[in-house]
């Protein structure tokens, strides 16, 4: 198992390298530069600024320099925030982004698994059709639409929940959490339903029923472990997706997380910040997928024995 994990960790290097190079080329190809401003600076000043940020060198030298420094943990200074490094800006927002992702995933699991369970125990009935129809709606509505709609309803029409910040006012974590978690709750609901229906049809469940065990005991003790396996497998991509989704949600609710930096950096052509946040999100995506694969292997011995991590 350890060997397999190490093998997977080794694949991080080429993936990150490709991400850096592609991102580097894309941001340099985009029109407009970090020093374009309404108040136009003289060509002499632009030249000095390019020199100060190493933008006067050929692109391959810039990439090499960037990689060389990044390996040593130096992701460079931010172009938009002079005097601050990309690393410290990311670290200032990361705890909030992680907290938002954790609340959202908890919300998604809680709502999704229970809805899926209820639906799987009542196949074809109203308690199956209604939650599954709602979940389809949840999957279809992107957070960029859902967020403002929730703000409109709960923040502006009914004025019951704050629409700004994170941890500053009572209840200000609710709308961002729900906005980010809803789509995943819907997916989890469908995955749970599918997994549970398959397990509930197995012989050992029939045996348990024949032995006279209560339905709750059958579901919780015997069926759930196998039934939520698809949910566990999807956790990694889900968390990675949540982190990516946090870009939008942090911007809608003015939350001081890393995602907001990513969005602002793109608009500001803050090259080093775009690269730093891209590396961070790639690294986190790879790591969460790896963790969810490990968890799935522990829950399913056949996966573990067949080297499912590969």
């Amino acid at each position: 198992m350890i060997q397999l994990i190490l093998k997977r960790l080794f694949t991080y290097i080429p993936v990150l390298l490709v991400v850096v190079i592609i991102t580097f080329l894309m941001i340099h190809a985009a029109p407009g530069g970090p020093f374009d401003a309404e108040r136009v600076a003289s060509p002499e000043i632009i030249e000095k600024l390019n020199e100060a940020y190493n933008l006067d060198k050929p692109i391959h030298v810039q990439i090499y320099n960037y990689l060389y420094n990044a390996i040593q943990g130096d992701f460079g200074p931010s172009f938009k925030y002079p005097g601050r490094t990309v690393a410290e800006l990311i670290m200032s927002g990361l705890p909030t982004t992680i907290e938002l992702a954790i609340y959202s995933i908890l919300f998604a699991i809680f709502l999704g698994v229970i809805s899926g369970l209820v639906a799987s125990l009542n196949p074809g009935k109203i308690l199956d059709i209604v939650p599954m129809s709602i979940s389809l709606l949840g999957i279809c509505i992107p957070s960029i639409i859902l967020g403002p709609v929730l703000v409109l309803i709960f923040g502006i029409w009914y004025e019951v929940l704050p629409v700004y910040g994170w941890g500053d006012n009572p209840g200000d974590k609710i709308l961002p959490t729900v906005t980010l978690g809803t789509a995943y709750a819907a997916i989890f609901a469908r995955l749970t339903r599918g997994g549970m229906l398959e397990i509930l049809g197995q012989d050992y469940i029939r045996t348990a029923r024949a032995k006279g065990l209560s339905e709750i005991r059958i579901v919780i003790v015997h069926a759930l472990r196998g039934g939520i396996l698809p949910v566990i497998s999807f956790l990694g991509p889900a968390i990675a997706g949540l982190l990516a989704g946090s870009f939008v949600v942090e911007t809608i609710f003015q939350i001081n997380g890393v995602g907001r930096f990513y969005v602002q950096a793109a608009f500001n052509r803050d090259y080093t910040m775009i690269l730093g946040t891209s590396i961070l999100f790639t690294f986190m995506t790879l790591t969460f997928v790896l963790i969810s694969d490990i968890m799935a292997s522990f829950l399913n011995p056949t996966l573990r024995d067949s080297g499912g991590l590969e």
């Binding site: 029109p31 000043i45 005097g83 800006l89 927002g93 006012n169 009572p170 003015q254 930096f261």
Partner: protein, 530 residues
């Protein structure tokens, strides 16, 4: 449903603080201002930053030789207790206030200003506002690297005096000094944390920052808040009635509006256009609307056909119904432009006009020889609902009155700036806010080859008049010359002014002594809270 309620309660529990009174009520009692401040400031180094949110913060943390007088757009003593101006208007001698201190207790000395001005003028720093100091003798040459010795620049320290020699008599020099780019930095701190010309200097960190303003920096959480509190060693501390300020970076105007209405901030620095009328009816005392020293205009690329023809440009301007734009689209009490520089009824008020006359416009279009079947013109603007509405209205007017085909192109801010700078546009929307209350801040922009001209337009007479105005001490004489230049501009129309900006924002009635002025600047030490 119960579990959902429990989960919501759990999240409510996770949120900190439980506030009974509104935040504004609570903070007003403590003398703390809560300000919605637009976007997150890019920094607080006065020689590097360039934006309005940064200015609002620096106004609390640093102080220049003089302070902006919010009542009359003039100046009040700041670090300089008094000043003398030589008869020829070329030499200014500032006597320093012995009570002016840095937050570490040291006195603010004339040498600190010499250091600070050398810093902003050093080409290596790449300061974008360095040209504010070009009025000082040899400052431009030093900044452009033509002279290396700063001693040749017209600024010197003499005991408790700072002597400044100018290139030309510049009656608005004192006004320039209210701009943050001329404010001082603490030399030892700057040297200690990176050196004079380092852009990545760490002197602005909370733990390092030393200022000389009425407030000191307490904390700065990126994208969350920047907090300052009363600077007890500030020379005017006794009359300062504000104990602290919290600057909140909220760039979404709907969020600011919502926060203001729920008592979360004393000031929302913008108001959603669609809500202005409602505020006027329901909360008129909290809605502030006043003139602003800015012009919204269309910039013409005069290097391109048919825009290189003055008759064609006049036809474009004559077929715009500015009244309709202001009343039906903007709705914010903006004033229709009749000059490039925003007029001031008590000061510079040029006798120019920009009429709406479609008949004359058609005749001029004929004279220009333009064939309406040519390729359509493009109007470029940065993505914004407001710019789009105006562009659509003008597109319609040009179609209706001139039969012109116009395409609208919206691009993101950086693409828009790059295309403008490279001259890759026909017509682009533009706006300019004056840096100091003098028409020169507008008119100078259109001088041949100025970086912000961007139109390719050049007029030798215009350049000569502005050059001549720079050496006039008499304000009346200067204004006469400015008016002559303004007439050339309006006659040739390399820019088509549309309206004069107004500032529209929401201010809590608890904030007292607030002054509405064209630069929208209120030094916080003059305010109070009830």
């Amino acid at each position: 449903m119960h579990w959902l309620i429990i989960f919501f309660l759990f999240l409510v529990g996770c949120s900190e603080n439980t506030v009974q009174k509104s935040k504004v009520d609570l903070y007003s009692e403590q003398g703390i201002l809560l300000l919605g401040n637009g976007t997150e400031p890019s920094g607080i180094d006065p020689h590097i930053v360039t934006g309005v949110p940064e200015h609002k913060i620096l106004l609390a943390l640093l102080e220049g030789l003089v302070i902006f007088n919010p009542k009359n757009n003039g100046v009040l003593p700041g670090v300089a207790l008094e000043w003398m101006i030589s008869e020829d208007g070329l030499t200014y001698t500032f006597i320093f206030n012995p009570e002016a201190k840095w937050t570490n207790g040291e006195s603010v000395k004339p040498e600190h200003f010499v250091y600070s001005w050398e810093r902003i003028l050093s080409p290596e720093l790449g300061a974008q506002y360095a040209d504010m100091l070009y009025v000082i003798k040899n400052a431009e040459s030093f900044h452009k690297g033509q002279i290396k010795d700063f001693f040749k620049v017209g600024v010197s320290a003499l005991e408790n005096k700072l002597v400044v020699t100018l290139e030309n008599p510049t009656p608005y020099f004192l006004n320039i000094l209210t701009h943050y780019s001329t404010w001082p930095v603490h030399p030892e701190t700057v040297e200690k944390f990176g050196g004079m010309t380092s852009r990545n200097n760490k002197w602005t960190r909370v733990e390092n920052f030393i200022g000389n303003g009425p407030f000191k920096l307490d904390s700065w959480e990126i994208n969350k808040s920047l907090k300052v509190s009363r600077n007890v060693v500030y020379w005017g501390n006794d009359s300062n009635k504000i104990n602290g300020i919290e600057f909140l970076p909220i760039d979404n105007e709907l969020t600011q509006d919502r926060l203001f209405r729920s008592g979360g901030i004393h000031l929302a620095n913008t108001v959603p256009t669609e809500k202005i009328i409602r505020y006027r009816e329901e909360r008129p005392r909290e809605l502030i609307e006043h003139n602003y020293f800015g012009t919204y205009y269309y910039r013409i690329n005069t290097n391109k056909f048919p825009l290189n023809d003055v008759n064609f440009r006049k036809a474009l301007s004559l077929s715009i119904d500015r009244d309709l734009i202001v009343k039906s689209i903007l709705k914010g009490n903006q004033k229709v432009s009749y000059s490039f520089t925003p007029p001031d009824e008590n000061g510079y008020n040029p006798n120019t006009k920009l009429e709406f006359n479609p008949v004359k416009a058609k005749l001029l279009l004929k004279e220009s020889g333009y064939n309406i079947n040519n390729n359509p013109l493009e109007v470029l603007y940065n993505t914004s609902e407001g710019h789009q509405k105006i562009a659509q209205a003008i597109q319609e007017m040009w179609k209706k009155h001139l039969g012109l085909n116009v395409v609208l192109t919206n691009v993101d801010w950086k693409v828009y700036l790059a295309r403008e700078t490279q001259g890759e546009f026909d017509i682009s929307r533009a706006g300019w806010i004056g840096d100091y209350p003098d028409p020169f801040t507008f008119l100078d922009m259109m001088v041949t080859d100025r970086g912000n001209n961007k139109t390719g337009w050049s007029n030798a007479k215009y350049d000569e008049i502005l050059n001549s105005a720079a050496s006039k001490i008499s304000t009346n004489r200067r204004y006469e010359l400015y008016e002559q230049a303004e007439k050339i501009l309006i006659e040739e129309l390399p820019v088509i002014p549309l309206y004069t900006y107004t500032r529209t924002y929401l201010l809590s009635e608890r904030v007292k002594n607030w002054q509405n002025n064209i630069l929208d600047t209120n030094p916080y030490q003059f305010l109070s809270l009830e």
